[in-house]
Symmetry: C2
DNA sequence: ATTACCCTTCGGAGTATCCGAAGGGTAATA
DNA sequence: TATTACCCTTCGGATACTCCGAAGGGTAAT
């Protein structure tokens, strides 16, 4: 399988232009090359992407999907190039903080806000990375500190727990599990599920564990946000799995029952991660000690 | 500029393996090819990505950024291929609904939940697309209906407003603007801003209008979620721009003042979009009439 | 000193890509 | 009905690219 970036660019040109001829011109290609390239793409993916008409081409549904993803991928690539250009300059007066998704959405906003308010001259650049990436970046000295999950091992680094981030099952109030406190994942895999859109890290993680157990979860609908997911559950559409912080935050607004998952992979902790305290710059020291100070979220 | 997908794959292999030699093996390439390819990448982007050491290579900060984006791009590509494979099968018994980001996060969860609860045999596949993409998909008959912004023109299609989605400025309670009801964008461009992470459609949109006005917004911090943004504003970190629904939803939990933006590009409406009512399948008709029924969100 | 890695450069071989030209089709216009 | 204007595909050759093996040079450990 190939599917080059050039393929994606060409395909967008063709769809936008409405014909292979015009699309080839936009892409600075000869008609023959565009046609040939298109044929190879369709052969590779095994689906027809364009319907050839007498007055140009029209996308099939698969073609429309390709258009969408092509735009996303090319935008991502543009972002990458832009970020790489930035390294010729270098940003000044800004603290760089690396955090995983959970920390970035659940933990950091609440903790960061008062600190930023008290330090009006310092700006913070939040970078979302996987815990693994963060650990490696800190290990080699390219970053000072970050917030990671304790699921990764970080040889030679300090890990200081600051919050829990357990995964919880949430169920409608009249569900058979509504009265239980804990449940095993195996016991709920056959329920109808409300999920997150495919491709999100958490959803992939959950699906993996279902697959390991030999099951595939049945999704009634997949939402884009945790809040949407919680609302679906509260209306009885199905059950869902969300981080503890999310479950707690919305259980007032949308009524549902929270049930702990027994599996060990559902028990996660967020940790500050750095090499050694004394090596840190004063600004980072101030920020970290604030983050680690009063762990309000970890109380259940 | 080239920067192939093969380049990204190779680079990941090299970084994971810790040396060009081992990385080349993982990528099924000869050492010479990998070295050469790497050289061309670094020449293209103009930044050193790897530090050559006697015992392998180590990433520079730019290299680490490339690693991160490479993973995102390749994951996106995998998602694309997976979705294209689905078209060989075809999903059954599922309603496909296309919606833009605002509808997907603000409008749909609340409206969709009771309908799904009342129709336990029907599943819904939500697809996030830009309003433009949705209109085109419906025009050519590849989709039945969607929820779009009224900013796009949809020749030959029915647009039925179901909710307002105006952009609002939110400011800390002691900000100079806290007592005003409306303000022009030009009047706030010099405030310190709390933004969304770069690359999000809304943030790009706002930046564009700032650029048109000849300004660049100064961001103290860029958050991943609207809720995080709101919390920052409530703590006095800066001002922010969010959809009306978001501003209303969180103004209880995080105290801030909401000020309307006067510009016309800040006044947006969400509309149901379809070709003709009689052509729609009964299931979609049921869903749309439910969505259009009681527009709870549009009341200010 | 030997061995084990590691990276770069070079010239040649193989192939993927591109292109122009030729071929065949439809639809609107004269 | 002939002409014009598009549109797409196929074919053979020229080009450019990528890949590879071999050679070269370096460091670190045994």
């Amino acid at each position: 399988m190939r599917l080059d970036l050039a393929d994606l660019r060409l395909f967008l040109c063709i769809v936008d232009a409405g014909s292979i001829t015009q699309g080839a011109i936009r892409a600075n290609l000869a008609l023959a090359s565009a046609s040939e390239r298109l044929r190879r793409i369709e052969a590779d993916v095994g689906v027809q992407l364009l319907e050839r008409h007498h007055r140009g081409v029209a996308t099939t549904e698969a073609g429309e999907a390709l258009v969408h993803h092509a735009r996303l991928i090319l935008r991502q690539q543009a972002r990458l190039l832009g970020e790489l250009q930035d390294f010729t300059l270098g940003t000044r007066g800004t603290i760089h903080v690396y955090a995983n998704t959970a920390a970035l959405t659940e933990f950091l906003p609440h903790k960061l806000a008062p600190w930023l308010a008290r330090h009006p001259l310092l700006n913070v650049d939040l970078k979302e990375r996987t815990s693994m990436e963060i650990v490696r970046t800190i290990s080699v000295g390219l970053a000072e500190a970050g917030v990671v999950s304790d699921a990764v091992d970080a040889p030679g680094l300090k890990l200081q727990p600051v919050a829990t981030d357990h995964l919880m099952l949430i169920v409608p109030t009249k569900n058979r599990l509504a009265q239980t406190r804990t449940v095993s994942f195996a016991n709920v895999m056959d329920e109808p599920f409300v999920g997150l859109e495919p491709g999100s890290a958490l959803q992939d993680h959950i699906n993996d564990h279902a697959r390991i157990a030999g099951h595939a979860l049945a999704f009634r609908v997949r939402m884009k946000t945790f809040e949407g997911l919680c609302e679906m559950v509260s209306c009885g559409v199905g059950v869902g799995i969300v981080p503890q912080g999310v479950a707690k935050r919305y259980r007032r607004r949308y009524s549902y029952q929270v049930v702990a998952l027994e599996e060990s992979w559902a028990r996660r902790r967020l940790c500050l991660c750095f090499r050694s305290w004394s090596e840190l710059s004063p600004a980072i020291q101030s920020l970290l000690s604030h983050l680690g100070g009063t762990p309000a979220i970890e109380a259940v």
